[in-house]
Symmetry: C2
Subunit: 468 residues, 2 copies
């Protein structure tokens, strides 16, 4: 379904409008989710381009002027509504229309690109990361413009198609289009609430340094009998390299890795301890038999305050059915570090490369490629827009927002602050266990609707805060 002007043009209040259009909004989101805009896979380039066009059209329908900007990579969609005039504040909404690869497909209970509702959840790749969360902003803007013909502030929407592959072209685009994107606050919904029914504002994000390690031994796969024992096995060498990345206490052992880590103060740690977090429930949610991590820190500290080093993928030799007695020629690992302030991706890259080079055995050639990185971010939310967001969230959820951290990364957050000089306000409508980046990703149906209400209310609250 292509987004069209809603027929309920006579709807009076914003809430009545949202209620009347709830089903239509969800149908439109489903169309958005059906486009497999997998930015990491070049075979999906046409789909990714189609998602950009679809989004631009939906922004036009909402009442904005929208343009699809070509880049060297995937396009960037920008939409403007500047009817509030030069004296009014400007809100920049950021989101991304690209999604993670859906593999392994066989683990999806319903097709990744055919949105399906089960148990009050919209199951689809991109449902919560980030199409659903981006689209609720579009619908909130539309609610104002359709019912009132205006907004209490100027609004610019910028949506990229490369968030899942490192946002390579966005910082340059923002730099080049500083005037177009100039704003008083940047609002992003690309994260999760702390718990169901508990609206949340983020105060920190981890950064990222993502590597691919390739170990090459013999020129071709060898017979493990005829050569085994006399040739260095690259898969074994890789395993031994990976095993040097942590000590027995779960601390990363790359020399210098923690040098720039800003330890949390006891006040900050205490604030996190006061959050209603149930470790047993978190463990159940993961399905693991026990939790793990760095000694001396709580689970939430491990997720928000501490950097990590994780294996994201492994591939070597024969991986099919049965036995093949091969001594592999190559072994590959995807390894990524989550970073916290003030770690720098470029420095972590240097440290990782130096460490791997130092521990790699003779007889294999080891190559460490840095695929992409992003800076960590931390900020205490305060000010006029944060206050408006708190009031809007309380209205939609009938509950005060909590201030929380996030273990994931939204690298562009730091870039927006740096380039535009505007604070970033992170209000997520995902939920724990939402399977972002995993099979059976979902977004709560309720949060899609309440999120739309909250953002709609946010613009009303901005008007309220602007009026003495």
């Amino acid at each position: 379904m292509t987004p069209t002007k809603p027929t309920e043009t006579n709807a009076q209040g914003l809430d009545a409008y949202l209620d009347a259009n709830a089903s239509r909004n969800q149908d439109e989101l489903f169309d958005f989710l059906r486009i497999p805009s997998v930015s990491a896979r070049s075979e999906h380039n046409a789909d990714t381009a189609r998602a950009a066009e679809w989004l631009a059209e939906s922004l036009r329908t909402a009442g904005m002027e929208a343009k699809v900007h070509r880049t060297e990579g995937h396009p960037i969609v920008v939409a403007e509504w500047r009817g509030a005039g030069k004296g009014a504040p400007t809100v920049l909404v950021y989101g991304h229309y690209d999604v993670q690869p859906a593999e392994p497909l066989e683990l999806w209970e319903s097709p990744a690109f055919e949105p399906t509702i089960r148990d009050g959840r919209i199951y689809a790749r991109g449902s919560v990361d980030d199409k659903g969360q981006l689209y609720l902003h579009v619908k909130a803007i539309q609610a104002h413009l359709a019912t009132r013909g205006t907004l209490p502030c100027n609004v610019v929407v910028v949506a990229e198609g490369e968030e899942e592959v490192g946002s390579e072209h966005l910082p340059g685009f923002v730099e080049e289009h500083k005037g177009l994107l100039a704003a008083d606050v940047v609002v992003i919904s690309d994260s999760a609430m702390f718990a169901p029914g508990s609206p949340s504002i983020l105060s920190s994000l981890r950064g990222l340094a993502y590597f691919e390690i390739n170990v090459t031994g013999p020129a071709v796969d060898l017979h493990s009998g005829s050569y085994g024992g006399a040739v260095v096995n690259p898969a074994m060498a890789l395993a031994r390299i990976l095993a040097t990345l942590h000590d027995a206490d779960g601390r990363v052992t790359i020399p210098g890795f923690y040098d720039r880590v800003r330890e949390w103060t006891s006040v900050e740690r205490d604030a996190v301890k006061r959050l209603p977090f149930e470790e047993a429930h978190f463990r159940e949610e993961t399905g693991a038999t026990a939790l793990g991590g760095e000694k001396g820190y709580t689970v939430l500290e491990r997720l928000w305050a501490r950097p990590t080093c994780e294996v994201n993928g492994l591939l070597s030799g024969y991986t099919g059915e049965g036995a093949k007695t091969v001594l592999p020629s190559k072994a590959m690992a995807k390894v990524s570090c989550r970073l916290v302030p003030d770690q720098e991706p470029a420095e972590i890259e240097r440290l990782m490369k130096a460490h791997v080079e130092r521990v790699a055995p003779a007889g294999v050639v080891v190559d460490v490629k840095h695929l992409h990185g992003g800076r960590p971010w931390r900020n205490e939310p305060s000010g006029r827009f944060v206050d408006a967001a708190r009031r809007a969230l309380a209205r939609a959820y009938d509950k005060e927002a909590v201030i929380v951290g996030e273990g994931g990364s939204i690298p562009i957050v730091g870039d927006f602050e740096r380039i535009l000089g505007a604070p970033v306000l992170l209000i997520g409508f995902g939920l724990p266990g939402e399977n972002a980046h995993a099979p059976n990703e979902w977004m709560s149906v309720e949060n899609f609707h309440k999120g739309t209400q909250a953002i709609t209310a946010f613009y009303e609250e901005i008007a309220r805060s602007a009026t003495p």
Copy 2:
């Protein structure tokens, strides 16, 4: 091409016959190689059955009575020629018509199942392991029966289709058909010569214990940001487990692993040191930048006298193009040990399972499956049939045979000796660097022909040794 009676029925001598039929024999081998009888892959079951039928038909054409015996797995082909009578000795020829999987296909320079000659080599999956080496026996038998109408001994050929997946049904079959397969010597060509032009008789084989290790952490792949640092990463856990399998000197650290290893005597070690082996040439052949292995042993000792533990495959998480920030749910390794006398696969299985269980961290579930095993073998070649083989090899190659070891495994060797009480004579016609189990497997064109000559001569030499 289906094997047919050769037209040159008037050929007088064996050599003239072999020369006249060289091209036909090779064409027939090519047809055999075109059948993708990959025993490890159930989708190739029909091909594997077809290879058995093809082989049986070629044995009939050679002048034998052949039958395809069904088993619970792939069929076993048995052919008999008993024209020499009860007083004459019986030779049992063993080979296998199944082949290793051909993957990774993209590394083959010509298609794996379309035999292609380049630089005097027949490139095809199974060319040397073992179709080419099995088929030269068929052609040697045919040479005698076609030119002389008789052989100086009774000959039984037994060929299985499960050698590459552990020969599960062969020992039981041999046990059940002891009478049919009763022999004075078992001859096997499924190994390599020590060097080009240097005919070789094997005195040892390593055994095998092949495992699949599966590590499971969270129930599904998780977002490495939202969960990373607080959940035990199964890929990292697997790497750490694999890294515990060796110490810095390349010794396997599984407790008890070496307990039953019979160390070679200084006499045995000296004999190996006298072989014309060039370490630099061996390294070049592998394409590795340096060799490796257990401290305190030469390369040939590492290959023939020492057990190993190798990773054959690794798979976990995201392995495609680009970056995917996933914390994998599962990680898998194929790991196999090559064994030497008197190690026992069943005991190594117990030791491996106990070791992995001991080192596995909390937070993951580790499962170790023993996929298949085979006992190691060692024997000093001597006696009437070995002498006949030495003379035959010297005739075909104009060079004395060397006695060598082999790092690979032919588990059935020990079973033949145990069940039939007959010594096994291992005469290989492969060559170093032949890429058995790897892309671009090849057999030397010259060795296919000289091997046929040598085996043809072997039957003549048996006649000579039988006559006082």
